[in-house]
Subunit: 497 residues, 2 copies
């Protein structure tokens, strides 16, 4: 099965209806408890007979249910009802023939700890753990090696800031952020990304994560639905979950989204937010094509859904520039754009910019006023000093070259692994499919012992199939030598398994 | 009525019981809708007869209900049931004879905008507005005049930081905060404040406000009760309200708290958190005495309530040192301590420290990881450089002297106003009672026209009587000349009203 599943599972109209009925039939049986966990489903042949449909329809329905985590296959003897975490959580979303998965998350007040789908995302703890391992071969951090970041000029820039603004350390920033910095950002986005922004439409936050949190707290109420990509960036999901959101996931593939699935979902499930990372997507590295970017704001407007475009690695591209951000195509205030600069300029400063239209901005400002009353002014002035200097563009050019070399080094080292991946055109990581015999978590356990770390796929896709077969290897933190050695070790270990 | 009310309303035991019964009787009638908004209550005489109690008991009960906002007096013709905002929100808390007020706040999901008790706290918008007025005589900001803060040394300190840590701008802080800074803080608190802390019990946040937010998000679930002082710091209340808390307020007076009221409340209402600002309290300037500080952690432990001790101006004292923080007396992990350093050292850095015991710390770290993944490292290193230099203590000494002079200047200027206040032994503001003829909001409206600002009391006490009669004047932001001129203008305006 795997990647091409949804094409296979998208039959013609009539068959589609029957196929839906089969899925519905099975899901209801499981939901009602008629078919308990770990009991065997009827064979494809017998259910086809019972329901009067073609065997292929039942087969496809079973495959889809398997992908949704509702059933599993045992020793080729047949299909079985999945116990946890899927049962009761990965409910039938009602969508026809696509792998839209409903992870019903609960707000904290509902004692999330008792909820197995949540504990899956609690794999986030696992992420923190694996990232805090002091490994020699650090492929778990999608962060940039500090040696590749500008380190020499900050002292000098800082002195310039103190000269211009002697009382900068004694002064609060406004809640929205320093107006000089917002001016510069608005201009940059307008010229470089075609955003047509005023400085009032820019908010400075302490990193992209805070931006996601502010948006979540402004918009999400308990029980609201959030649509996101599958796989997805875990901490963002955890933020939405904590706010009480129910989550629906839609596949991201090398060629982009399934736009019909997205429209269907927006129409029927009315998600409040579609959280996306469409450029050099984390973890897959995929980039959503231009024609989809143009259509998304229209859909969002039509169905009253806000697109949260998290664009943290837009500038880390290895070939031609990626298509314009989705925000650039929005004319109705249906997109909010998050651009972290911490990540590839100065993580020690924690500066991100959020752009959106006035109504949402007001709401974000109210929350920002409460959560920290404005980001530190010193950092904003210092970042501005760098942002406006020619060093900014020089740094980005050099950084992209250095990261491309590391990426290619990692890909070369993996060439004979038999693992498969789509080579990313930018970003910080590879998303690799392992042979079916290799379990990511077991591999990780052994690798950690030899000082190699990576992130197992279930952190990004807690109940789906990709989570069980994929790993994320970041090439941005380790240098080339470490990449060569570390990947060699990784492959040696994998061969023993 | 007013301040001495609760003494008057604290009769002997038997009378107390009867008095309680009267309050209960009236409250239930109102709650059940038997007595509708704006209908007249039975006269004191007739209700006394009906219930077989002394007329004085009914009189006192009616007075108390008035103070709670449940009834009002019309033209001396009698007592009437209050419509909004009190009815349905300022419900009978069941407490005997004290003015414990229950503001039932709703979480955002309950569409807070429709809730009149909330729109009262939305006076917060008013606070932001009045503070953003670019007034010549700025008494609304409880912030320190940047000229009184260290401005000269930061450039030099920054160079020292870059020398020690060349990659500081390129490096993320840990979620908990820089370990060197936490070491220094733990030692400082242990030596200076008798805290007995390990560095693992210190968390660095981006300002005190973020600390309150993290605590609120870690602990408060929709419907949980939060106990706080009356009057109280508005933004903190807004944070708890947004988290879905229901609020109970307990008076803070020049001599401290009413400990019996607090115990009664902890016992019956089981508040999850008691949020306090016991040293140079904002806005009143009162300081809770040592014997109460010793007893509070015991109560908190007994009733499973966490004390959140927000101690933002502890070091701004004009005479002898204030008593030790309540945290110093806690042996059961029932207190979390928040110390902002931004406020009186470097607002542009946004550095606060939170100290608490391991269990709560783990929970705070989980939230901190989500909301911003750690405060900026650069700021922490820079602050540490200052914190460890002898300049820190020199600065504090000079700052206290300068602020004391400004306080005395303001008090001298107000000497003949006829307004009353308790002279604070530290902190940044005066809390003044105006003559009953003078309405704070009307006064403010006229003052703003002449470039004088202050904060009307209802921002700190939205439905209580003090809110209608008090104002907060901060002496920390304007210089002496501005204080003299501004207060003269203020008094001139007040005399025309």
């Amino acid at each position: 099965m795997g990647k091409n599943n949804s094409e296979l599972l998208f039959p013609a109209d009539h068959a589609l209806k029957l196929y839906e009925q089969v899925i519905h039939y099975v899901t209801v049986r499981i939901d009602r408890g008629d078919w308990q966990a770990d009991t065997k489903l009827p064979s494809v042949r017998s259910l086809a007979q019972e329901l009067g449909v073609h065997r292929l329809t039942v087969f496809r329905a079973y495959q889809e249910l398997k992908q949704r985590g509702l059933v599993y296959v045992k020793d080729k003897s047949g299909y079985y009802v999945h116990a946890s975490p899927a049962t009761g959580h990965a409910k039938y979303a009602g969508y026809s023939g696509h792998s839209s998965i409903d992870l019903t998350f609960h707000s904290e007040s509902a004692h999330a700890a008792d909820d197995p789908s949540v504990s899956a995302w609690r794999g986030m703890d696992g992420l923190s753990r694996v990232q805090s391992v002091n490994a020699n071969f650090q492929f778990s951090k999608a962060l940039i090696d500090p040696s590749l970041l500008p380190n020499r000029y900050w002292g000098e820039l800082m002195m310039q800031v103190f000269e211009k603004h002697p009382k900068v350390a004694a002064t609060y920033s406004s809640v929205q952020g320093d107006s000089e910095l917002r001016d510069a950002m608005a201009q940059h986005f307008s010229v470089d990304k075609h955003f047509a922004l005023s400085p009032d439409e820019v908010l400075i936050t302490s990193g992209a994560q805070q931006a996601i949190d502010l948006i979540s707290r402004s918009l999400i109420r308990t029980g609201d639905r959030v649509l996101t990509e599958r796989p997805a960036y875990g901490p963002a999901m955890e933020i939405f979950r904590r706010q009480g959101a129910r989550l629906t996931m839609t596949d991201i593939r090398p060629e982009g989204y399934d736009m019909e699935q997205i429209e269907w979902c927006m129409k029927t499930e009315k998600p409040r937010v579609f959280y996306i990372n469409p450029t050099f997507h984390n973890p897959t590295g995929f980039t959503v094509p231009d024609e989809q970017r143009k259509r998304l704001p229209e859909l969002a407007e039509r169905y009253g859904c806000l697109i949260v475009e998290d664009d943290s690695t837009y500038d880390i591209s290895f070939g031609q520039k990626p298509p314009l951000p989705i925000f650039a195509y929005d004319i109705s205030g249906s997109v909010v754009y998050i651009r972290s600069y911490s990540k590839y300029v100065a993580p020690g400063l924690r500066i991100a910019a959020v752009t959106c239209r006035p109504q949402l901005m007001n709401s974000l400002l109210n929350v920002k006023a409460l959560v920290d009353n404005g980001s530190p002014l010193l950092n904003q002035k210092l970042f501005l000093q760098y942002f406006q200097s020619p060093r900014m563009q020089q740094h980005l050019k050099k950084l992209c070259i250095a990261l491309q070399i590391r990426k290619e080094t990692m890909e070369d080292s993996l060439r004979d692994s038999g693992w498969t991946w789509t080579s990313p055109a930018g970003g910080l990581s590879l998303w690799l499919q392992l042979p079916s015999t290799l379990k990511p978590n077991e591999l990780l356990a052994k690798c950690v012992q030899e000082s190699v770390t990576f992130v197992p796929g279930n952190v990004f896709d807690p109940i789906g199939e990709e989570g069980e077969t994929h790993v994320r290897l970041s090439y941005s933190y380790a240098n080339e030598l470490q990449i060569k050695e570390g990947i060699a070790t990784l492959l040696r270990i994998s061969r023993t398994m």
